[in-house]
């Protein structure tokens, strides 16, 4: 009698744990960028160069990875929540789409300052007409230096 009760209890506990896990997993939201560990830490020009030289190899390397990139802020587009890093004489940029948690901070940034951005690499858009971009998503600003 006692053993059967124990077994029933154990099964019940397992079912509850499984249900809790399934519910938790189903409702899980993406880890915020601030809590993610960077897979790569490099300068904007190095990252841009890698993609420019060979986009398919670079895509395999960086796609879906968390990247911390440091470079010159080329342009701020507050209306699109976008920041552009790179050399202002080049048509290539790192285009960072700001995470919803830092939307307000874009307007305070000044071009031609050096910034460090952490974000998720979603790809490279090669475009001779518009200028090619390395694209980062859910970007947050780690630090910025004013000259």
């Amino acid at each position: 009698m006692n053993r059967r009760k124990v077994i029933y209890c154990a099964i019940l506990i397992v079912i509850v744990l499984l249900a809790w896990y399934a519910y938790h997993e189903y409702n899980r939201t993406s880890t915020p960028t601030s809590e993610l560990k960077s897979d790569y830490n490099l300068s904007a020009s190095v990252l841009i160069n890698e993609f420019e030289q060979n986009d398919s190899i670079s895509e395999k390397k960086y796609l879906g990875k968390t990247i911390t990139v440091t470079g010159m802020l080329k342009k701020v587009e507050p209306e699109n929540s976008m920041l552009l890093l790179g050399d202002s004489t080049s048509s290539l940029s790192i285009r960072c789409s700001l995470d919803s948690t830092v939307l307000g901070t874009a307007a305070s940034l000044r071009p031609y300052t050096v910034v460090s951005i952490k974000g998720n690499c979603i790809g490279f858009n090669r475009d001779e007409l518009l200028g090619s971009d390395v694209l980062l998503n859910h970007a947050i600003i780690l630090k910025s230096k004013t000259n």
Binding site: L63, G64, N80, R95, S97, I122, G123, N125, L129, L135
Partner: protein, 183 residues
């Protein structure tokens, strides 16, 4: 002298006219939405690149598949790993034309219907799509939008047998792009 001046002036006109022909955005939005009794799938991509050549009606979109954001992380992971296989096929592209382009006056503010036809490449498959979109001309900018339906099977996007009846075979797509002249 007069002919030289006229020639020079008309040459200048054509150059400036050419520069005004193309409109673009790199922050276009594409949302896809699919609803069944079992599940509602809703994802938004805010990094879409799009160009319209107002002279020819040629229109192009470039979409990074990993740029689609879902509220639920597990759904986003399934989307990328199992459905669209974004590591294998990181980009989707549309190349088409506004077939009634000559009925749209891009210099005059107003709302115009745009018949769009072209090829969509998604998950490595190319399929022709045709839809009616909207071009809203206002203050020198173009707001292009369209709503249409895609069938997953057309792009060999496979729904696992286990959830075959729970996940819809079609998705609703909404495109919204605010485009500025390319200088």
């Amino acid at each position: 002298m007069k002919t030289l001046f006229l020639l020079g002036f008309s040459f200048l006109l054509t150059i400036t006219a050419g520069a005004q022909d193309k409109y673009f955005t790199k922050s276009g939005k594409i949302r896809f939405y699919s609803k069944t009794d079992f599940e509602t799938i809703d994802a938004l991509n805010k990094s879409v690149t799009s160009v319209i050549d107002t002279k020819t009606g040629a229109i192009q979109f470039a979409v990074q598949m990993k740029g689609f954001d879902f509220k639920k992380a597990a759904m986003q992971e399934h989307f990328n790993e199992d459905y669209v296989e974004s590591n294998k096929f990181p980009k989707a592209e549309f190349r088409g034309t506004i077939t009634n382009n000559n009925t749209i006056d891009y210099k005059k503010d107003g709302e115009y219907a745009a018949n769009v036809k072209g090829n969509l490449t998604l998950h490595g498959q190319t399929h022709e799509i045709e839809t009616i979109g909207k071009v809203l001309v206002k203050n020198g900018k173009i707001a292009a939008s369209a709503d249409f339906i895609l069938a997953l099977a057309d792009f060999k996007i496979l729904v696992p047998t286990l959830v075959k009846d729970k996940i819809s075979k079609t998705v609703n797509i909404n495109v919204t792009c605010l485009m500025e002249p390319l200088k």
